[in-house]
């Protein structure tokens, strides 16, 4: 019990600190930039549960993110429930999508799962572009509700919500990593056939990982309609999500919960700063090059490099 209490306290503390810092700067733009970084912490962590822990690469983060966003959007356009309900709904539909894709492809080689996720994003986008309720290709606008009492600005409220979600996601990843479940996932990643022969129910664990990963990505997407207010398919299905949610854990480090956080903070902040100076395409290009560089030269990521430096200094 003590083992879980300490990280939870740290997470809550970090959230409160973040809120305080941004409030003090008084800069409204900070809410938006911070929101994006926190969103990426959730997405990167979610990706890593399936990618880094289990060894299955998901190229279609946008599909799950969009599922969460569009579930929330449909709810906004119809019954307009409170945000927590939308978040839960977004997570559940995206989780189901993960379960479905997993069930169809995870009994085959990992490669087929990855290809299916890549194609999935294209297909979902096709569906959405043909869907009149959400405005088809042109999209639709939503109006933000009033923020809950302690908050005066809805942007600030969204920031707080995303901070809580980020803390929850990271806590979940921390818990998985240190549990028997996490060890099973690592066994699958290291050698799936051996894991199966050692009693690990590989299919069941893989399905858990895809469902949980999808759920978290949907959860990250649910507040998106209120964040952007104009929901168009091109921005929801942006390639940014696929690349970043993959690059951040790869650059930060894939074997631990800390890696995606480090990657998201480093890469996310860099991108937020860069968007004002360089074009978004050049920004993406740099991400791509850095990603390939890390994959080739530093597969352990920043966390791994730091670990090696520390052990070298110890000697």
């Amino acid at each position: 019990m003590r083992k879980t209490l300490v990280p939870a306290a740290v997470a809550v503390g970090a959230v409160l600190a973040a809120l305080l810092v941004v409030r003090l700067t008084g800069n409204r733009y900070a809410w938006f930039a911070g929101y994006v970084v926190l969103q990426y912490i959730v997405l990167a962590t979610a990706w890593n549960v399936l990618g880094g822990y289990t060894g299955y690469v998901n190229f279609g983060t946008a599909a799950f993110f969009a599922t969460g966003a569009y579930t929330a959007l449909v709810l906004v356009l119809t019954v307009r429930p409170p945000l927590p309900v939308m978040i839960l709904a977004g997570g559940l539909t995206a989780g189901l999508l993960g379960l479905g894709i997993g069930y169809l492809t995870l009994r085959l080689r990992g490669v087929f799962f990855s290809i299916a996720t890549l194609a999935l994003a294209v297909v979902l986008q096709t569906f959405v572009m043909n869907w009149d309720l959400v405005g088809g290709a042109k999209g639709v606008s939503v109006i933000r509700p009033r923020p809950a009492v302690p908050f005066t600005d809805y942007a600030e409220y969204l920031f707080a919500v995303m901070a809580v979600l980020a803390a929850a996601a990271v806590s979940f990843a921390w818990w998985v990593e240190h549990s028997r479940l996490g060890r099973g996932l690592a066994a699958i990643r290291d050698n799936e056939e051996a894991a199966e022969c050692m009693g690990v129910p590989t299919l069941r664990l893989k399905l858990f990982a895809t469902t949980a990963s999808g759920f978290l990505m949907g959860v990250a997407g649910a507040p998106f309609p209120y964040y952007v207010t104009l929901v168009e398919p091109l921005s929801v299905f942006s390639l940014d999500y696929a690349v970043n949610s993959l690059a951040m854990p790869m650059i930060g480090g894939t074997t631990t919960w800390l890696g995606p956080v480090v990657g998201a903070v480093l890469l996310g902040t860099a991108q937020q700063l860069a968007t004002v100076t360089i074009s978004s395409e050049l920004n993406l290009l740099i991400v791509g090059v850095v990603l390939v560089g890390f994959v080739l030269l530093a597969p352990q990521g920043v966390v791994g490099l730091a670990g090696r430096l520390a052990s070298r200094r110890r000697r």
Binding site: T105, A119, V122, T126, F127, V243, V289, L296
Partner: protein
Amino acid sequence: MLSMELLANALVAGLLLGGFYAAVSLGISVSFGLLDVVNIAHPVFVVLGSYAAYATNRFLGLDPILTGLLFMPAFYGLGVAVYRVYHAGFERTGEESLRGLVFFFGLLFIVEVSLLLAYGVDYRLVEAGYIGESIRLGGIGIALRLLLPCLAGVALTAALHLFLSRTFYGRAIKAVSQDGLALRLMGANPVGVKTIAFGLAVASASLAGALLILIGPVEPSLGREYIGRVFAVVVLGGMGSIGGTLAASAILGVAESLTSTFSGPTWAPAVSFGILLVVLAVRPAGLLGR
């Protein structure tokens, strides 16, 4: 009311499209089907070929198919370079699964964004004498801009099939997918053979790209739309089966054409995905696969 003429036209257009899809899928059929290298960047190499054809067409007035053929050596070199990096970085250490995939995804991304930076999001097309023309065959109109890519695709497929079954290196490529050790005993170096094969696969992208821009306008993100198609074709046709690739391309082309005609063109990208999922669920070995 189902019009026979509409149906016939859709079928023919589908078959023609199928021939073209074969041209695009051959590269994956070789690299994934035979070499087990999951080059998901292949479609973006095809788009790269399209832009090469566009540039030479725009500034030099060259025919796209000619450009496609002329650039093949350059693309071959690109393929060799990419494979060397992939092999040194991943195959040798046995890390192909996770990191190899990410590597190719990174490549896909880098090329797409580079094209975006160079040419922007606008659609580009080529001008050639035969583009607007069509011939009539028994009451059905066949557009030349669809017919030529189809014929080129079929020709490329036939050429590859002959190469794989008649030449020494071709047979070595087929062998390396089954037994690298036996190959070594025969005096051929498996890595060298794989490098050549991968180079050829990327070289085919040059011609496929020229055909692509003949069929319709291109823009940088078009590659991603083709990933689903290409893998659907290779999986449906059976890994490593060149004949299977052609058959599956025809099936996909017809399915898309019928969907396009009767449900609307915006649904076309979903067809390949549907086929892919069904095949994976029902018969992952594909039609003619091992």
